[in-house]
């Protein structure tokens, strides 16, 4: 695992920074930060799978949506307490992750991305038609149980969830399994050639990614208190997740978090000038330019600056 003292120090600083944040910023900013935390969780989930193995998933809203809908239906329609419905939601999402894994055993690249996109659209259409008495149909559900009251508690919950998941994912990616997942992204045949079971490795990546997505989705829906198919199974939502990862830097754990915060705050700052969906015009253009300039994201730009700074000072 190769843990060093400065790793512990940096993570400690990161968490301390998150925890003192409510003292420094207003309530409104705090609410924005809650969204950023949840987006960061989804981004980490996407990154564990697609940022590492190179299997680009366009279906992450599918997994997040399954987690969210499972706990919403269980707690609203069957009065299951959230302590049970959220773990169940994670389990169901992991099973869904195995379904997404099936095509990944045979196809890769663009084709895999397309199948996952089809999964998402399929789910969007099915949710509205099958058992609308359970799912709430096109309009979704509202009045779901919320876990916390007020922006402050909501923030602490979201920030701690994000930190815990980020550290778990970070530790996981520093093990030999994490390295093997990287290797799959570079050359799957040679990984198989080295005697590793790529099927098992991929299954592991899908399960971890699905578990994070399910957990994030479940907590998110219990924060919002409502759920609607078009808000979840939507290309714009997918776009926000992927852009957060890529802007931040794929394959790093801290990158997607930075990306998520950057994008959510950018969207907030644009609100006074562009109140509606037009915001995505500026937002998307900035994302596109940043991505074209440095496909490895903000992390790579920062690393480049760091190297240059060192050269200047020495």
């Amino acid at each position: 695992m190769n843990l060093r003292a400065h790793h512990v120090l940096l993570w400690g600083l990161f968490i301390a920074g998150l925890m003192v944040m409510p003292e420094l910023v207003s309530k409104g900013t705090l609410r924005t930060m809650i969204f950023a935390c949840y987006l960061a969780i989804f981004a980490i989930s996407w990154d564990v799978l697609s940022g590492r193995t190179g299997y680009i998933s366009f279906g992450h809203p599918f997994l997040i949506g399954i987690g969210a809908y499972t706990t919403a239906i269980l707690s609203k329609r069957f009065d299951v307490p959230v302590e049970i419905s959220i773990p169940l939601a994670v389990v169901v999402t992991m099973i869904a992750g195995l379904i997404v894994l099936l095509p990944a055993l045979r196809i890769k690249g663009s084709y895999f991305a397309l199948v996952t996109l089809a999964f998402m659209e399929l789910m969007y259409q099915l949710v509205q038609v099958i058992r609308p008495d359970l799912t709430g149909g096109t309009r979704g559900m509202s009045g779901l149980q919320t876990l916390t009251r007020g922006a402050l508690n909501g923030y602490y919950l979201a920030a701690s969830l994000m930190s815990v998941l980020a550290i778990i994912a970070w530790l996981l990616m520093r093990t030999r399994v994490g390295t093997a997942l990287w290797a799959i992204g570079m050359n799957e045949e040679s990984v198989r050639g080295s005697g590793l079971s790529t099927t098992r490795l991929k299954a592991f990546a899908f399960l971890v990614s699905a578990a994070i997505a399910g957990l994030g989705g479940a907590f998110y829906v219990h924060y919002l208190g409502s759920i609607a198919p078009r808000a979840l199974f939507d290309i714009n939502f997918l776009f926000t997740i992927i852009v957060a990862v890529l802007i931040g830097g794929a394959g790093t754990i801290i990158g997607p978090i930075i990306g998520a915060f950057f994008m959510v705050f950018l969207l907030e700052w644009l609100r006074p000038w562009l109140p509606g969906a037009e915001r995505y015009f500026v937002y998307g253009l900035i994302a596109l330019l940043l991505y074209m300039f440095q496909p490895k994201g903000i992390m790579a730009i920062l690393a480049g600056l760091w190297v240059r700074l060192k050269r200047v000072t020495s």
Binding site: G54, I107, A277, G284
Partner: protein, 284 residues
């Protein structure tokens, strides 16, 4: 029964036209152009702006839409695809971002609400008890003419055969004295034109709204995946399978389920037979 047959034939012709432009890019550039749906949307809006807001003749509207489509295709190849130098994942993701940018751009200019296009050719004809608008009839006929012209172009002309060669083996084509870059540029232009033209018809068949690009994109994806890449005939046949499936499900089952079987078809075919029903084996 005849109703289903006629509706199916009309819808499928339109789908074939829409999927054709997507297939060209996928088979020659080897890239998924996720912004392809946005060509349709922009084409529809350009037509709406020229013919309904400025009151120009309809043919000018269609011409303008096609021109903008070509321009978008060329620009995208020059600015994005060439800059990223064939990194497929990067191209796919940047086209996804571009699609969202274009959608937001349309909202910025035309607003969020959906617009209704006046029929391009007004009037209704009754064929064997089925009501058929001239609008969709003309759209289908023009689609067929364009598809046949495209087929003749790809099969008969030097540039068309060069396109086939690049699609099969870019290196081999380059050795034979074809400039793959030029062929790619031409293909992106043609694809943009087909998309914009398809968009005008598609918008007049359904409605004009900023997120209208998702449905035709998914249909194109389905048609191309199931048909296999590089096969105009396969695209044509599968467009009819998808079109008829939709019409049958809408009329005998439930309209809400119209897309479900298209998705299942994509997932099923990709998992069972990744090269598609009519496509050739991929070597890489």
């Amino acid at each position: 029964m005849t109703q289903i047959l006629i509706q199916g034939l009309l819808l499928s012709g339109l789908y074939a036209l829409i999927a054709m432009g997507f297939m060209l890019i996928f088979s020659i550039g080897r890239t998924l152009n996720l912004a392809y749906g946005a060509y349709l949307m922009v084409g529809g809006y350009v037509y709406f702006w020229l013919s309904q807001q400025l009151g120009l003749p309809k043919i000018v509207g269609i011409g303008g839409a096609v021109l903008v489509g070509v321009l978008m295709g060329l620009l995208k190849h020059r600015l994005i695809v060439k800059t990223l130098k064939g990194d497929h994942v990067a191209v796919e993701i940047s086209t996804l971002i571009l699609a969202v940018v274009l959608q937001a751009g349309v909202v910025l200019v035309f607003g969020d609400s959906s617009k209704i296009l006046l029929p391009i050719v007004p009037g209704v004809v009754t064929v064997a008890g089925a009501q058929v608008t001239y609008n969709i009839l003309v759209a289908t006929i023009i689609s067929w003419v364009v598809i046949l012209a495209l087929y003749a172009f790809v099969r008969g002309t030097h540039t068309g055969r060069a396109m086939q060669a690049v699609s099969m083996d870019p290196k081999g084509a380059a050795i034979s004295g074809i400039d793959p870059d030029r062929i790619n540029l031409i293909t992106w232009g043609i694809s943009g034109a087909l998309g914009a033209l398809g968009g005008v018809f598609f918008a007049s068949y359904t409605q004009l709204y900023p997120s209208m690009w998702v449905a035709p994109l998914i249909i194109s994806v389905a048609v191309v995946i199931v048909g296999g890449i590089g096969s105009i005939l396969g695209t044509l046949i599968v467009a009819h399978i998808v079109g008829f499936l939709e019409v049958i499900i809408v009329s005998v089952w439930a309209p809400e389920l119209r897309g479900v079987f298209t998705m299942l078809l994509i997932i099923g075919v990709l998992v069972m037979r990744p090269q598609g029903l009519f496509g050739r084996e991929e070597t890489h």
